[in-house]
């Protein structure tokens, strides 16, 4: 076990409602979720001394802080690369706490991603500049390859070719997520499960991806409170201990379009994250009682099962078919409904669900959950967590 394991815990979670048109500013959504998370933890805003969010977040820590009465911050940072940042926020918080730079750190993400700027519309019409990051899109958008769904579809097609996976195999992830969302009152798709035929009959977005392979778009905010082991001792809830927290960028990494590696059927950055998680936590894939895997698009859930070590390469379709991902299976998946079913909160709502699983408070609580693995955005520089009932 490494130095970072067990030094911090998530002790508060808070979110706004998940909607398609919040009618409020992104700053207000951020503030509402942070206040709710602090209230859940039983911690006053004045005790917060660290804040972490995404580089994409439109409301910086100074605006959230002055709005809700957070006073002095000794640690603040932003994690880059879209949804790949989600678990990275907790990793930064845990690292800061381990290093003694702060002991009460807020991690949050809030946006009007449906009523405001919709990521699914892609990069084509965004202003170009000559920075390396923007100039990279020069290799994609002039050909019409400009949306996340299209980027993932390109990798998925090759994955199907090499491993014989089918659209129905991808669809199983959507069916499981929507089944879990159907019983979650906070989920956008509450009471709206789907069948595999619904998935197959949904319109094409970017072949081989159907509409129901793609996550929804959401307005909302989600916050988490990460504190030191010392501070976690006497709070309202059972702490969800951070026993593994890692980030990963792999060789020849690009933004969801790492098409120039020797192979494109894997997610080597997720392998890098996973190797660290198992090393840090001293736990193995078999020790996990549930998994919250980032599901912006279904195909990469299969790839993650392989990279995290739950099954061999190309075997995810069989692993899923064996029923392991149901609530009574050996690895219940996305018990909140995931981003396909609950909400697309850039992965942060999945971390909150992992905390509920450790507390035993999920609406689809499988059984005793002592350890749960959580992942962040796939195809991008990414991150992951292992949260545990015990340090």
């Amino acid at each position: 076990m490494s130095a970072i394991s067990g030094t911090s815990a998530i002790v508060g979670i808070g979110a706004t409602e998940f909607s398609k048109a919040s009618g409020r500013s992104e700053l207000q959504l951020a503030c509402e979720s942070v206040v709710a998370a602090l209230d859940d933890a039983g911690i006053h805003p004045s005790e917060v001394n660290g804040m972490v969010s995404f580089t994409m977040e439109s409301s910086s820590e100074i605006h959230v802080a002055r709005s809700i009465g957070i006073k002095e911050q000794t640690f603040f940072s932003r994690v880059a690369h879209g949804g790949g940042a989600a678990c990275g926020t907790v990793a930064h918080a845990a690292a800061a706490i381990t290093a003694g730079l702060a002991d009460v750190v807020v991690c949050w993400r809030a946006f009007n991603e449906r009523s405001g700027q919709r990521f699914g519309l892609g990069q084509a019409d965004r202003p170009m500049d000559i920075s390396a990051d923007r100039a990279y899109y020069s290799w994609l958008t002039p050909y019409g390859l400009s949306t996340p769904a299209q980027w993932v579809a390109m990798a998925a097609q090759r994955y199907m070719h090499e491993y014989g996976a089918t659209s129905r195999d991808f669809g199983q992830i959507a069916v499981i997520d929507r089944k879990h969302a159907a019983t979650n009152p906070h989920a956008w798709f509450h009471k709206r499960p789907i069948t595999i035929e619904d998935h197959q009959n949904s319109r094409w977005i970017a072949e081989p991806l159907h509409l129901l392979d793609c996550c929804q778009e959401t307005d909302g905010g989600q916050a988490l409170i990460v504190v030191s082991a010392e501070r976690a001792k006497d709070l309202k809830h059972k702490p969800a201990w951070v026993t593994g927290a890692s980030q990963g960028i792999a060789e020849d990494q690009l933004m969801m379009t790492s098409y120039y590696r020797p192979e494109i059927t894997g997610l080597p950055e997720m392998k890098l994250v996973a190797d660290q998680l198992w090393e840090q936590s001293g736990r193995r894939p078999d020790d996990m009682d549930a998994a919250i895997l980032y599901d912006h698009f279904t195909p990469f859930v299969l790839t993650q099962l392989e990279e995290l070590g739950f099954c061999g390469r190309g075997e995810a379709k069989d692993f899923i078919a064996d029923g392991h991902l149901d609530t009574d299976g050996k690895l219940p998946l996305n018990t909140h409904g995931g981003q396909l079913g609950e909400a697309y909160l850039h992965g942060m709502n999945g971390i909150a669900e992992a905390v509920r699983l450790i507390r035993g408070e999920s609406v689809n609580q499988p059984k005793q959950v002592d350890d749960v693995v959580v992942t962040a955005g796939t195809g991008v520089p990414t991150s992951g967590l292992v949260l545990s009932a015990d340090r």
């Binding site: 390396a132 020069s138 019409g144 299209q150 098409y259």
Partner: protein
């Protein structure tokens, strides 16, 4: 559309008629108007303002720019506000109105200049109908081109200039722009690449229909997308290799939604592996989505998408060609 023969005859009866009688300009050619004109035109040729300079070119003195010819005969604001001025031109316009050709746009004005005007010259002009076209469907609307000839003369009856003046008289609301928009909207341009110091060479070569691959000048490794340094040996020296244009489909998608106005959907986008070993993102052409397979041999073609953008695209190689 008017098929009324009597209307057509009445209209054509104007051809050859003088519709504006010789009418003298309001002011004789003078230095003040010339000065204002050349200042507005940013024309500092001294022959328009300096008698000495004009004489040095063999002229008698200051001359007016020939392009001012029409200006000397313009009726001015007061006459314009007072109406069309009567006469045959008013009759012709009334007849065009009767046919529904109530809108007008000037289309051509061709001048032939015969002599330069000097200070004190007096200019007049008359206007004769040269032609009235049959009814035509134009982008602006259904209408007729009316061509007149204006002849400008000086006080000695010498021809100064002849102007062929053409207008389109059309029925408002009958143009193509009044039809459903989609047909008329020019296709949007493809998203622009962001050209910077690291990728410009590739897009410049593409404009010349050369597909180049960046190559490390030290270790010879090829790389794409390009970058300033070699990830294998850290060298910053590089040159390029011109690709053979042969490749295979490494992966592909069929894009449907959301549509971008530059493209037709379903849209085939592929990652092609070149014979040289590097891959690039591109479009497939000349093939239906259902016929694309991974591993399919493809060959380079150039797409001149618009004047500023040339892109490599790939077409499947037929068995015969193989």
């Amino acid at each position: 559309m008017s098929t009324d023969t009597s209307y057509e005859e009445r209209l054509q009866a104007f051809v050859g008629r003088e519709v504006i009688a010789r009418r003298k300009g309001q002011d004789a050619v003078n230095q003040a108007m010339i000065r204002h004109w050349v200042e507005a035109m940013l024309d500092d040729n001294p022959i328009y303002t300096d008698a000495e300079a004009a004489r040095a070119t063999g002229r008698n003195g200051v001359v007016a720019p020939v392009t001012m010819t029409q200006a000397w005969t313009m009726r001015g604001l007061k006459a314009h506000l007072a109406g069309t001025g009567g006469g045959a031109m008013s009759e012709l316009l009334a007849l065009l109105d009767e046919g529904g050709y109530t809108s007008v746009v000037a289309t051509d004005s061709d001048f032939e200049f015969h002599r330069e005007l000097e200070i004190g010259d007096e200019v007049d002009a008359d206007e004769v109908v040269a032609a009235i076209s049959e009814e035509k469907a134009t982008g602006l609307g259904i209408g007729r081109f009316v061509t007149t000839v204006r002849t400008y003369r000086d006080q000695h009856d010498r021809v100064v200039a002849v102007q062929n003046w053409r207008t389109l008289r059309f029925k408002p609301g009958t143009g193509r722009s009044a039809k459903p928009a989609e047909e008329e909207k020019p296709r949007a341009l493809r998203p622009r690449p962001a050209i910077n110091l690291d990728n410009q060479f590739w897009f410049d070569a593409a404009k010349e229909h050369r597909l180049v691959i960046q190559r490390c000048a030290d270790c010879g490794q090829l790389r794409h997308p390009p970058g300033p340094a070699c990830p294998h040996c850290q060298s910053f020296d590089w040159d390029t290799l011109e690709a053979s244009g042969e490749g295979t489909v490494y992966s592909y998608i069929v894009a449907h939604h959301p549509p971008h106005p530059a493209f037709e959907y379903p849209l085939l986008i592929a990652v092609v592996e070149l014979a040289e070993g590097t891959r690039l993102t591109t479009n497939l052409v000349g093939v239906e989505p259902a016929d694309v397979t991974i591993g399919m041999p493809v060959r380079l073609e150039w797409l001149d998408a618009d004047p500023d953008l040339t892109l490599p695209v790939f077409r499947p190689v037929t068995e015969q060609e193989q």
